[in-house]
Symmetry: C2
Subunit: 264 residues, 2 copies
Amino acid sequence: MKRVMLTVAYDGTNYHGWQLQSNGISIEEVLNRCLTQLLKEPVQVIGASRTDAGVHAWGNIAVFDTQARMPGEKFSYALNQRLPEDIRIRDSREVPADFHPRKTDSIKTYEYRILNEEFPNPVKRLYSHFTYIPLDEKRMREAALLFVGEHDFKSFCSVNAQVESTVRTIYSCDVAREGTELIIRISGAGFLYNMVRIIAGTLMEIGSGKYPPEAVKEMLEAKNRAAAGPTAPARGLTLISYEFPALKEKAGQQAAEEKSEKTV
Amino acid sequence: MKRVMLTVAYDGTNYHGWQLQSNGISIEEVLNRCLTQLLKEPVQVIGASRTDAGVHAWGNIAVFDTQARMPGEKFSYALNQRLPEDIRIRDSREVPADFHPRKTDSIKTYEYRILNEEFPNPVKRLYSHFTYIPLDEKRMREAALLFVGEHDFKSFCSVNAQVESTVRTIYSCDVAREGTELIIRISGAGFLYNMVRIIAGTLMEIGSGKYPPEAVKEMLEAKNRAAAGPTAPARGLTLISYEFPALKEKAGQQAAEEKSEKTV
């Protein structure tokens, strides 16, 4: 038995999110079906992030266990032959049998795209949130920096979420412009439900001049969802990457051991 | 009775092209239906370019005649309330009653997008053609320049097309890089059926090293479809704009007259 890790990119438009749903097709369901067909044994993946309907990914993570002899790195090719074009496996590799993507420390990075021009371009409608209200990215960048560090993000969490603690650590948060698009890029040790979308909605209100950049401090202190801005729509959000420092260390050690063996 | 001109942007993914079809929904059909509902009179638009299934537009042109009193410039707003999100009217205005978008001299501009990286990004799959084969944009740019001018483009026309002459004039053809995307931008007085897609397919083969840039000269001289490269897929193609010098002149004259009236 071995555990294989997949790096999964997808266009979330046509799916009811990552997680198995009774009312529509999910990314998880499609992966389970393709793996089960490929391996001729029942396979059930464990996902790192259960992204919402309409949210996209460049690097979500899934693991599964199999008896198959196929080497870990061959799965990406075999799966891409069977998967629909809007789900692609960027990488596959064997990981330690006890590796669990939600129970292992990780650095998660998200991007939120805002199309900020006079007129909405139809070909961008599913991958960015459009607003014709001019946004000042300098103000947004100033505000974005105030999210960095360990804070209680209760104001930036969907009220329905049931979690033990709303304290999270953000490593970086920046706003860049690419032509008529603004891109909010945020990395952290963990995110609450809807947290990135509420941060995006808040940064937009700061960019439009509704609040000053310093308002973020008061919003954090309020610990009240009503104090922050609105939840920006799902379509603008992309899960960019998961990094697992423990896996990297292990891989580094292994490489070092192999190297020393060769040297001997 | 007045004639109104619409500038239409659309995501061609979900349509069987511009032109009315018996086997699927077209952009033209949706425009006719929305205009007929809005104006409560049968309306039939005349399109400038009958783009193929899967081809996108930022500035296709449609005109229609109406008895309605609504000023020309109000139609864009009224239509955008009724149209699906993947079709947007960027501009509407009254034009001379005898203006016909296919019978008036115009400058047409197209873009062809190629995603050239190791791995296909699912969110770009509908708006660019993916290849992992490294393309050299310098070679492609050199070749692109050889299309500029008046040439017989018989080698760059679908064999099924029935046209009197295959001579066309290209004003500019360039290749630019935006990150991992290559964009071929081409303007001309007119294009043959599939001409831009065959030029794109040919430039890709030059970029990959299959042909030298100078090969374009021989391909043009051959006057034989088999001499040129393959037809690149529809999804990478966007009709960017139509310019009508005659309309601009008329508008300029009118503005000048109005100005002189005001001065008097």
